[in-house]
Symmetry: C2
Subunit: 446 residues, 2 copies
Amino acid sequence: MSSEFDLIVIGAGPGGYIAAERAGGAGKKVLLIEKEEMGGECTNWGCIPTKSLLAGAKHYVHARESERFGVTVSGAKYDLKTAMAWKQETIETLRAGIAFLMKKNKVEVVKGTAVLNPDRSVRVNDVLYSAKNIIIASGSSAAVPPIPGADGKNVVTNRGILSIEALPRKLAVIGGGVIGVEFASYFSAVGVEVTVIEMMDEILPLMDGDFARAMRKALKGINFATSAKVTKITPKGVDYEKAGKTESVEADLVLMSVGRRPNLEGFTEAGLDISRTGIRVDEKMRTNLPGVFAVGDVTGTSLLAHSASRMGEVAVNTILGKEDRMRYHAIPWAVYTLPEAAGCGLTEKEAADKGIPVKTATVQMRANGRFLAEHGKREPGMCKVLVHAKKNTLLGVHIMGATASEIIPAAAAMIEAELRTDEIREIIFPHPAVAEVLRDAVWEIE
Amino acid sequence: MSSEFDLIVIGAGPGGYIAAERAGGAGKKVLLIEKEEMGGECTNWGCIPTKSLLAGAKHYVHARESERFGVTVSGAKYDLKTAMAWKQETIETLRAGIAFLMKKNKVEVVKGTAVLNPDRSVRVNDVLYSAKNIIIASGSSAAVPPIPGADGKNVVTNRGILSIEALPRKLAVIGGGVIGVEFASYFSAVGVEVTVIEMMDEILPLMDGDFARAMRKALKGINFATSAKVTKITPKGVDYEKAGKTESVEADLVLMSVGRRPNLEGFTEAGLDISRTGIRVDEKMRTNLPGVFAVGDVTGTSLLAHSASRMGEVAVNTILGKEDRMRYHAIPWAVYTLPEAAGCGLTEKEAADKGIPVKTATVQMRANGRFLAEHGKREPGMCKVLVHAKKNTLLGVHIMGATASEIIPAAAAMIEAELRTDEIREIIFPHPAVAEVLRDAVWEIE
């Protein structure tokens, strides 16, 4: 073996690089292994490039649809090549930032594909490395189900769609989860005819039912086919079955966004306990193998970049002997569509399923001063809060409307700190802010 | 006396109408007196109309300056009349909303100017009203110092400038506080040449010094004259002294935004204890007169709409016999300029003045994924956190950059809940969000 480390981290996405940064910052000798690019799926083919493109799409909409504010333009144009260059610059700046963080925290970085051996050594490019502890943060990849035509040239996943060179005329999106709906929103905003085909009876399954329905209506440029099972992809588009009938949607590009599968290549021969969804871990991110941890998408528990980062922190704290554990009750999520939505904590359905008695209140965005000033009374949006019916602690917050993703951290803080309604009512929010909907909804409780 | 109420509220701004709503909601018989418009200064001539205009200005900037995202337009125009109509619609929607809230909470509303008599009766339009309790929420007005020429036709305050019918060619803003700088940012964004003249050596005195300086640089279309004392206003512009020299700035419109004075008319004969800055109150918003409370700008303690609302809640809770008190350590503020800034809690200078030992950390926005994706690495922005050096509790947060005003409620919640750094590090923020700067800055502490 070439070298003895305190910690080997496999995968430089938001789970792995944060774990490496924290461990390096605590003085540990860390090796970080990445087979592709620093930042992983999130930075290179996920969260970041989509936000870069959506930013431009939002400005394009602002340019064309701001007559009500007194702003008119002639000849608004959208150039994909420039947008893609902006996206690329964002990615490269972040990659460089992560590389700098690794250097700053004295993390050694090796490029290559890691294989975990039964003796817990790690092989990369035919070199063997060993360490007291190992964190597997290998992420996930787009799942491609065995639908006839799914291997066609017109079919892409989240990676392929980020390197197209011209806008499609018509885009079909298979799968109405977060990834599918974000791409749908982007392409629709820049003028592409978009159809989302979803097998379930509603899009965005992580959302509170009321909100998913409202979002489907708010994304009004997009066609949605729900309860629709794709049967075939052809060069002309997608065939699906709905209510016993076969229907077709024309498309020159098809995005496959039906789910993710854990990246287990290289980790199947070491004796790890692996379930159908990923590597099994406990609340300290420990696998069944002593000293071997897994964090992020590869665990299959919470497929979000920030969950991965937090899991990385928990794994490192456990290695450092600091008391910590992963909790899943206050993980926020956001959909960066136009309009945005975000949530944190329980939905009404989840509360009912768990037998937790709740009180709820919903306020409409049109009652909010800043929202009115910036979006007007016809723009949809709302905020729902769930509170424990007896303890009055905040259990869930759901927001639809501009800046929802920047407001939800306040909800995450309140849920994590187990604040009660009487405590939240004493917190002063700035006026005017869209965020006031959260305080107002809490005041509506009882 | 015509009628006996539980509570008379004088002034229907964010202090008064919230107090009336809360008391009415608790079953009290409430009379709300307003001499002008529902919503007061904030809704009609302050927070709300400025945000309505700034929303349009932001879209105008997006229309013209989005080449980097691939968005180009051949001709962008800004029409003040349409923008003013949007502003007016926003105001009227909110006014109607407040009127609805009053009806819903069975609050009786009377229009007229209130006078508080020594016997604690209240006269409006020659009718006398009485109540067990009275809340004075009469607000403040723009102060106009006795500068020669300040009574000229070319001089306006926050009210007059919101009813101009054409954009000035050149605008001089006297006073670089929040109101002055917001108007300066708006007019600059829509193409007006703007000069801000400030007597102190820096603009935005409520901000942390580093942030005020950075903001002055970030507002790059605007001319700033600091340490400058206005000596005369003429039809041609403004004369001021700076470093012993007299200088002139041309302007066809002059905005006077040097400060606010409490609206005390009608309250000076009742025996109230009134200081130079306003009606004196204790932490329960009680004045020296039994059963008479004062909230909001008229107290001169914290001239912010949301402070007024919270004071209104404290006064009502005190009346209802519920334990509550006004605290000033976690009141957020925001400046809705382009770019925005916001803060909550102590600045470094305030901590030093109070002898509170602090640790600080500052992170730059260019390290934030969402900020990079939406604004790029050249756009300024940062977040500074202050933590108690021994207790590790969060004491202050300062943010400059887009959506700062929507992020700061999370800081307010954390400061109010007295969270320590180790607790904040366990809160999961969504990725990517600009709000992550707050978590990242807390991680930098130590």
